[in-house]
């Protein structure tokens, strides 16, 4: 079982390496969105500091969302998905592997970059730490929840938009708790509560989501 998940992760990472695009895409998008804002909004440090958690979290959300359509679409197009669905192992495990790989490729880099970008917005040390932590906890939830949407809209007319329509409402809590945690730190309230809620979302997202995702994939292949 573990070896299957490992095989899936290994394959997806190798593909991402080979394409390169995928690793950089979400990350690059994240950087762009975050850095364009000061350009459009103007450079007053006070204002920027207040904007920071919101901008960073919205950017993370958008970056993840944009990488979702490709989560299963490539495998669908070239017939690999059928092969995976016909494998004698539970499809949900394979999905779990793909979700983890997606997070490694699209989520983790955001976590690593967040402190660097946060400094641009003049965030203080503890706020930076909470920002990074909240992203570390929150991004797996984004990948997990997103997988459901990606599977449901696979091969469907108007997939991309539909995907955002389905996934965004489910992302809003993550955004609120995530940005809320940083805000709470900045205003001195303590981020504990927000972070534990985020953690619950992440656990649910990663370990519960593969089942509906697998079911949706089987429906998509019918």
């Amino acid at each position: 079982m573990l070896s299957l998940i490992r095989a899936v992760i290994g394959r997806d990472l190798r593909l991402a390496m080979r394409r390169q695009a995928d690793i950089v895409a979400a990350t690059f998008f994240f950087i762009i969105v975050v850095s364009l804002f000061p350009l459009g909004v103007g450079p007053e440090p006070d204002q920027l500091r207040r904007l920071a958690p919101g901008v960073l979290w919205v950017a993370a959300l958008l970056a993840t969302m944009l990488s979702l359509p490709r989560l299963f679409a490539d495998d669908h197009r070239d017939g690999t998905l059928e092969q995976l669905a016909l494998a004698p192992q539970p499809l949900a495990l394979i999905v779990l592997g793909k979700v983890i790989a997606h997070w490694l490729v699209a989520g983790l880099p955001l976590v690593v970059l967040a402190p660097v970008l946060g400094v641009q917005f003049d965030l203080a040390g503890d706020a930076l730490a909470v920002l990074t932590l909240s992203l570390l906890i929150g991004t797996p939830a984004l990948s997990g929840i997103g997988a459901i949407g990606a599977a449901l809209t696979l091969g469907v007319r108007g997939g991309g938009v539909l995907l955002s329509l389905l996934v965004l409402p489910l992302y809003i809590p993550v955004l609120i708790f995530g940005a809320g945690a940083v805000d709470a730190t900045v205003t001195g309230l303590g981020a504990q509560a927000h972070l534990s809620l985020l953690g619950a979302l992440a656990l649910g997202g990663v370990f519960f989501a593969p089942w509906p995702t697998a079911a949706a994939l089987r429906v998509a292949l019918e």
């Binding site: 070896s3 299957l4 095989a7 899936v8 290994g10 394959r11 190798r14 593909l15 080979r18 394409r19 490539d74 197009r77 070239d78 017939g79 690999t80 059928e82 092969q83 995976l84 669905a85 016909l86 494998a87 004698p88 192992q89 539970p90 394979i94 292949l221 019918e222």
Partner: protein, 213 residues
């Protein structure tokens, strides 16, 4: 071993076929025939359990495949119109990662041997996107060389292959039949399989739903 009774396939407003039944034992091959769009691909996908049949049942060793689930899938090897190879990976990586996902250990030597057999040696390190149409198909078919699962379901395996490769694949199919395997296959080309018992099934004209009352 594989038994289908009274299968019916409905697509949109059309009933592609109905009342299709057959029984296939070890060492036998079912050659599906029929016009373009007569429902061959649809039937194969039903046999794999990818698409549910509108009515009828498919049994493997006497039990419905929907019940068997993973047990059935571990005996099944499907190759569709799509090649299921990744254009970014090399043929070698493709065959190795396919085996790893199927949880079947395959070492690099065996993989190279398979690639040599299908004539891709010398291209094993070239990303598949550079391969010609026929070479891509060969890369996909290389899986069959070491494939030991009992039931092969192949959808037009000979497409885009040249004569030599076609014969090679027919040979692989024949060898599988001789080992006691089962094969279900569609093709529009007349290709003789060297061994095994070949049965034919021709899908006829489809009928618009409203005419079936």
């Amino acid at each position: 071993m594989l038994e289908a009774s009274n299968l019916e396939c409905v697509r949109g407003e059309r009933c592609l076929f109905a009342g299709v039944s057959f029984r296939l034992e070890g060492g036998e091959m079912l050659a599906l025939q029929g016009r373009n769009g007569s429902g061959k691909t649809s039937l194969l996908r039903m046999l794999c359990g990818l698409t549910p049949a509108a009515s009828g049942e498919i049994r493997w060793c006497g039990r419905p495949i929907a019940q068997l689930g993973d047990e059935f899938r571990s005996e099944l090897c499907f190759l569709g119109h799509q090649n299921a190879i990744k254009e970014e990976l090399t043929p070698l990586e493709n065959i190795l990662s396919t085996a790893r996902l199927a949880q079947e250990p395959l070492d690099e030597d065996a993989a190279l041997a398979a690639l040599e057999l299908v004539g891709l040696l010398g291209r094993e390190d070239l990303a598949c996107r550079y391969l010609s149409q026929g070479q891509k198909r060969r890369a996909a078919l290389a899986r069959l060389v070491h494939e030991k699962r009992a039931l092969w379901v192949l959808d037009e395996p000979y497409v885009a292959l040249d004569r030599a490769a076609t014969e090679l694949v027919a040979g692989l199919v024949g060898a599988h039949l001789q080992r006691g395997g089962l094969v279900v296959l569609t093709t529009h080309q007349a290709v003789a399989v060297p061994a095994g018992n070949v049965r034919e099934l021709t899908l006829g004209d489809d009928v618009a739903l409203q005419q079936r009352l």
